[in-house]
Symmetry: C4
Subunit: 370 residues, 4 copies
């Protein structure tokens, strides 16, 4: 078994999980800092307790500064100090550490200066795991999205000029200039509709009604584009994530590349911490699992069996017996590949040899445990 | 014919239908209870009739208590009493029975205590059949959905700080603290737009306009993710539901596994109560039916023919004659598999033997009836 | 050539087009009637001209009555009088003819009685061609849609009870009873947000903010379900519409059933009135056309060639020459099948014999015209 | 190598890029003109600086007039003067040049006449690249979209008549006539919800709540249709754009038509200006590139290698080595075809010969550079 191959993979995976703990601390400090910032703007809270809150905020700023410097030093040792300092990550760290002190040094009064703490939010950007996918969707679909935006802006200007012409004499206070009318148009086309500026003439209302219906259309196009782009990206992401794991499971490694691509299309990866129950005895089952990294323990009557990388379990559910026959728990941080009943049947019909292997193993296990 | 195989299946299916009647009573009692609760909060109604309403509400509570105890006893006899008591279902039953009495015992005044009746709604959760699918979508797409939520929260904080800085001097009453401004931001980004808090400075309005457009974007992403996830789940659910039935129709059982997977992909299951007309004579037809469980009666001129599990009908519609030639009605609770004209042609081109069987049977029937 | 086969098809198609003209008159009368009804509710207009308007409305009612009776008589002659009278179409006709007179006979004052004219809208239902598809989507996806609706109602009740408990003491006028609070919840969850009822306590606003975000989620699910269902239905409808036409084009009739299914999947039908220009000389072309019914005229230099049912044109665009080389116009009501460049290449790679036929014909034509 | 074939292609492509610069000037002038128009409607700005602004606006008008005349002359020389003058493009140019002067000549006062400058927006239509795709979606899905619109209008009329009947006696000022009530219905069904007209009777609110929920449904259908249509169009557009480029890469030209269609389905085109870095050393890579037009420079240690039309690079990323091994930059305006890791594996499993060529070339390069 390609152990030497899997260990670095697992190590890297464990490092990622450990990194999460550091990230959690960072997120917590940002959350505390922002809460403090919000409290400071509330008058009674400010009067009674601004000293304590400000002390807490200064602690947050100190934490950010120390974190930034530590990372700078570490990056310098690894000989990419400048690269880190100019990367998005490094700039976010720098801005988080410096924004408030610089604002105070620049003469902004203490209470307003804390508002610059909003830049701490940038530190969260790398923690949002799905953000990269969202960005890819926005980049790939930027053409149509920009078209819809331009369409929206054109509609905005047309609506404003029309309403300005129709309403300015009746309501000079709110429709008295194009900028005010543009405000009305934005509020209406985004379907926010505050109601602070409302047309009153019959013709103005007719035009406004048409503008609202067009607003729905723009909205629908916008959503349609994003939905289409998102569906494509999701498929792509799942494939990439699974591909790496599949090729490391010995069970699949014997298949040709065409079969591996087929398999990858239907598997789903799942990362589980240690001591998590994956399968509960007696529950209905509709999928089976392959172990890409880690280890699980099968709680059979009278004995406990451990399955390691490359093993699989839960195949009974796909072979007719829909009730799980044992509890199965992870013993360590594990990555599993999940195969749904649906995809199992499609897959098996195309790769009969795979089906035979799984059925053979299932029979062997049944005999052994009975 | 595998009769012995189909009977338990039908029995289980009939049990499910019978279970529905009990569920309907439960839903009715919950609806009555909630109506009573609503009536109690209306002042004139309370004064004139609170005795009668409260009597009704106590009846509902009694019903829930009895139901809970009965289920506890039944579960205990089947030796999984604790499992039921701690399951979501059991907890919902317990809370529904105990919430209001406990609140009253805890000293809450009678009129407020009835408000706790809102927990009765939890009893409806298992009755909502599609809820499991919705939950699966939310779980599987939780990554991107959380990303969008974080994006939304970040946008919220940025918008609030900007508007607070721009508007607090002009409208100290409504933009005077960050919590108030956050309220504005939520109301605006969700496009609710009450209009109770509205920016008035030109710069504030410009920023607000950009926030609204971003709000549309977040909304579109949200919808796109859910739409993508839902499409995937729907395909999966239909496949699972049909797979079980298909493999029980003798007609398909002779096919290989690849063909069965193909067939399953294009069939749709349909459960019909007894004495329902499926096909009306003279109407245009665009699908044929296979009987997975139950029985139907074909009303031919002069005689009535009964078709049982494994039979099929309506195939004329797919073989050129688009007008239905007889009324067909269920004689008992039946499960049918529907094959659309579209999919029929695709399927037939891939499995010519299936086509021959169907055409042969169709010819035989035409000869017999002419 | 199967001429005798195509003629009835064309006749039926022409009848459909003629039927449209009758429908247009019906739609026009309904539109006039509704306009009159609207005018009657405007006070100054009523005073000055209600006699003329009412005369017009009576004419509309008379038209509906005559139409209904004529259809009843015709249906009776064709021996399905009762079927028509009880069909949706027949009932809509009856209601349109009788609603206003019955209301007046029943003692409703004249001005209010005309409001019953709103039922005339039912006469439009059969004219909305896509309505059948929408209904199929709603029926097939009714399970998940109902689940979302129940989810929405549960959210509504929870939100109302929470806000009622939090706000009733501060704003007894608007949050003083559950029905009033339910009104707030509906207005908020649908993102309408009138602003007539707005929470003011900090806790109430916090709960309201969470309700709004949940509202977006419900909205997204709703849209996702409808989008998924609609995509499926659209594919199905196009297939059915094209299938009939494809099997009538001799060019395709020689193909086996598998190839016909393939072809049907990629063709699009298009109905054109007489004397419409289909292809303009010199314009870039990215599709070719097959004639399923009707006739076209190719305007070649020096001569005019006519192509009839079963012919095809525009194939040069798909064989490398992207610029159209002649004007092509319909000479009569025609149904064309459009083959896109995209699909052409996919199709040709699977059915090389089809490709050879088209290329051979294209070469023959090029030689002939050069 | 088919150089003579690629040069005209590249020339045409370069011309398109040059044309963009002219377009940018046009967009800038339109933006300036519209800004001036907006400034003129603001009272204090008008008083202090309307002379300067009007001077600027006249310059814009002069620019449009000159542009229009220049294009007319050029078109006349190319012998399609009338075609240009009557095309959408020509009419937009004409209207942009003439609207304001004609309005002034027609006696409109100067300040109002400038409002006609809104027609300048039409000049932007051809610049919005995605607009053609949006229009195709709207045309192809016009059937269902119209159905939903009719559904929306029917709902509008029903809701208005119901609310008019229920609220007119309580709120005669705002629900006193059907046109006013229609205004309420539009504002509510589009979820804008200004709050200027709000039902107050319990029954009116009940009906309004149902109308709002229906509004969500209409909205969902609308979005679903647009999303479906957009997904189809996007696939089609990408295919067409890529098809032309693929058939010009010698690497693919040796494949049969079936394989080319396969390849086209998975490639994405990308246009890059000169001196753009495509691949950065050390970054993770998940795609490879084919050069359809232009030239790139690979920055290997000690030497620089240039790759021209028909070449490919980045294949190491797909063959196991996920880190880019060199910087690669364009030397001139280039069009690249991008092959994702996902699609690479699928493609390779179907066309093993393609895989061998790429792997052979990759080995040769590795040997050469080591």
């Amino acid at each position: 078994m390609p152990r030497s191959f899997i260990f670095p993979h697992l190590a890297q995976f464990a490092a990622a999980m450990a990194g999460r703990r550091t990230a959690a601390v960072s997120v917590l400090v940002v959350a505390l800092g922002l809460s403090g910032m919000i409290v400071l703007t509330v008058d009674p809270a400010y009067v009674t307790s601004h000293r304590w809150v400000e002390a807490g905020l200064w602690t947050c700023v100190a934490f950010f500064a120390v974190e930034w410097l530590a990372r700078l030093v570490r990056a310098k040792r690894a000989r990419h100090g400048l690269a880190y300092a100019l990367s998005g990550h490094g700039l976010a760290d720098a801005v988080a550490a410096l924004a408030v002190p610089l604002a105070m040094a620049g003469g902004v009064d203490s209470r307003s200066a804390w508002l610059f703490g909003v830049v701490w939010l940038f530190k969260l950007v790398p923690e949002v795991s799905g953000l990269r996918r969202l960005r890819r969707v926005l980049v790939l679909e930027s053409g149509p999205l920009l078209s819809v935006l331009v369409l929206f802006l054109m509609l905005l200007v047309f609506a404003s000029v029309a309403l300005y012409a129709l309403e300015r004499n009746v309501q000079p206070a709110v429709f008295g200039s194009l900028p005010s009318t543009l405000w009305w148009a934005v509020v209406t086309l985004t379907t926010v509709g505050y109601g602070d500026v409302v047309p009153v003439t019959p013709l103005g209302r007719l035009v406004a009604a048409m503008v609202m219906v067009c607003g729905l259309g723009v909205f629908g196009l916008w959503t349609g584009i994003l939905a289409t782009g998102f569906a494509t990206e999701t498929r792509r992401d799942n494939f990439l994530k699974t591909w790496n794991s599949v090729s490391k499971v010995p069970f699949f490694a014997s298949l040709g590349p065409a079969a591996i691509a087929d398999v990858t299309h239907v598997l789903r990866t799942m990362d589980l911490p240690a001591h998590t129950m994956i399968v509960r005895k007696g529950q209905p089952g509709d999928c089976m699992y392959f172990i890409a990294a880690g280890e699980v323990e099968v709680d059979l009557p009278g004995k406990k069996v451990r399955l390691r990388e490359g093993g699989f379990f839960g195949e009974m559910a796909l072979l007719g017996n829909r009730e799980r026959s044992a509890n199965i728990t992870t013993t360590q941080l594990s990555r599993l590949l999940v195969l749904d009943l649906v995809d199992f049947h499609v897959l098996m019909s195309r790769h009969p040899d795979l089906a035979e292997t799984i059925e053979g193993e299932a029979k062997r296990r049944t005999l052994e445990n009975s």
